[in-house]
């Protein structure tokens, strides 16, 4: 006869972790214990409900945003081993965003045009970025993160984030809010073909709680998969709002409003 509070046995019966004979014997042992029978029923109901729970996962936009922000943090750490992770790039640019309404991305491709002639400026007009749930993590929140300040060792081991690309290829645009024409210009400037273009922004002014009621931010994400460049250096930024970095074989260019970029691809 089981003890009234033999919860392990009840859990095992509910989970079906025993043979049919054992199961029958165990259940029979509950006959004289009303509390046990109720507990068994509740365990079964819970397990049944949990088993029917639909899977949850990030959508593509969320996934890209999370990866981007993680990557920004860890690559920043690689060059700033003694510092805490920075706030998301767009958060740092909020002041600049408030004043502007148009996007100007000027990309110069150093591998194609070196030195003084290395910068080919391409004006890229932005469309308004639609809303996407992407809450910027505040500096203080990051500072409070349990991980804060613990990277020092790994940072030294981390390589530069922008390693050489292998071979010429095409431009793949994932999410951005610049026009298809603008993206085409970027692609052409890189000597690559444009495979896909989505005027599908991932950050909106409302997400950033910008003081400007008008769209104050447009951002472009241009992934250059196997681009015609051997390596990419950190972009030199004129004004606020542009950042370039690399994830695997993709180079990401982010552009906020009222900014221009001279990126040197080495």
């Amino acid at each position: 006869m089981m003890h009234e509070h033999d919860t392990e046995l009840i859990a095992a019966i509910a989970a079906g972790d025993m043979s049919r004979e054992e199961q029958a014997a165990a259940e029979a042992s509950l006959a004289s214990c009303k509390v046990c029978r109720t507990d068994l029923q509740l365990q079964r109901e819970a397990l049944e409900a949990l088993a029917a729970a639909p899977p949850v996962m990030m959508n593509d936009l969320e996934r890209a945003a999370v990866r981007r922000q993680v990557w920004t943090a860890v690559t920043s750490d690689a060059t700033r081993p003694d510092s805490l992770p920075r706030a998301p790039w767009f958060q740092r640019w909020i002041p600049a965003m408030a004043a502007a309404a148009a996007l100007l991305v000027v990309v110069g491709v150093g591998s194609v045009l070196v030195g003084d002639s290395a910068e080919t400026d391409l004006a890229v007009e932005a469309t308004t970025a639609p809303t996407e749930n992407l809450r910027a993590t505040a500096d203080e929140e990051m500072a409070e993160a349990p991980s804060a300040g613990a990277l020092d060792d790994v940072a030294e081991a981390a390589p530069t984030p922008m390693a050489a690309l292998d071979s010429p290829g095409s431009v793949v645009v994932e999410y951005g809010s610049i026009s298809s024409e603008g993206l085409q210009d970027v692609a052409l400037s890189l000597g690559a073909s444009l495979e896909a273009a989505e005027a599908d922004g991932y950050v909106s002014p409302s997400d950033l709680q910008s003081p400007s009621p008008e769209p104050a931010l447009a951002c472009a994400e241009v992934a250059l998969e196997n681009g015609p460049i051997s390596a990419i250096g950190r972009a030199s930024v004129e004004g606020d709002g542009v950042e370039i970095y690399r994830i695997n074989d993709s180079v990401y260019v982010y552009a906020a409003v009222d900014c221009s970029l001279s990126a040197t691809f080495e």
């Binding site: 859990a11 109901e45 819970a46 409900a49 996962m57 990030m58 969320e62 999370v66 990277l151 390589p159």
Partner: protein, 193 residues
């Protein structure tokens, strides 16, 4: 060692050797499960996304501290749970993420922290009504399918404590589900009348 564990070990070795691409692979392999755990514990999609971001930054930073004594996924879950707990504490301090402090199965409205979950099935409400400790144990055990020993390691509590939390968590969950179901029937009855 499972394929996943072996692959995790290989990727970790590469990351520690300076290969950041390996970290990206490691993240891709685990990000959905981390997100699922965070979403179930935090019951808030945006908070869960923030947590996932924070988890992987932590993983990157602390990877050298991973000894391999437990599975990487167990270590990862531990970071995820701790990150979620931290978020809940911060949210409570700043009162930006209302969270039920008590588990009153009779109060079907106590799970109102689910504002940003698109679908609000009874299960999500019932889960949200559990205390974070019970919720984490049930999520890891019954939704993520971790063995109880791994749950104990992830939560950094004795095995017996995990067994108790899972058992009591399921019981409360079922009671919440019954009450939610009852209130739905009651509301339908009122509407029909």
């Amino acid at each position: 060692m499972s394929f996943r564990s072996a692959e995790d070990a290989r990727l970790i070795s590469l990351v520690l050797g300076g290969d950041n691409r390996a970290f990206d692979e490691l993240m891709q392999a685990h990000e959905d499960r981390v997100f699922a755990v965070c979403l179930r514990i935090l019951a808030n999609r945006e908070a869960a996304l923030d947590a996932v971001q924070e988890v992987f930054i932590t993983v990157y930073r602390k990877l050298q501290q991973f000894s391999g004594a437990s599975a990487f996924s167990t270590w990862l879950y531990r970071i995820a749970v701790n990150t979620c707990y931290d978020q809940l504490r911060r949210a409570r301090r700043h009162e930006v993420l209302p969270w039920p402090e008590t588990t009153d199965p009779a109060d079907a409205h106590s799970a109102n922290a689910l504002e940003s979950i698109e679908l609000r099935p009874d299960l999500e409400r019932a889960l949200a009504a559990l205390t974070p400790d019970f919720r984490a144990a049930v999520v890891l055990s019954d939704l993520e399918g971790l063995p109880l020993q791994a749950v104990a390691e992830a939560l950094d509590v004795p095995l017996g404590t995990v067994k108790s939390r899972v058992f009591r968590g399921r019981r409360l969950l079922a009671e919440h589900l019954r009450n939610l179901s009852g209130s739905s029937v009651h509301q339908r009855g009122e509407h029909d009348a």
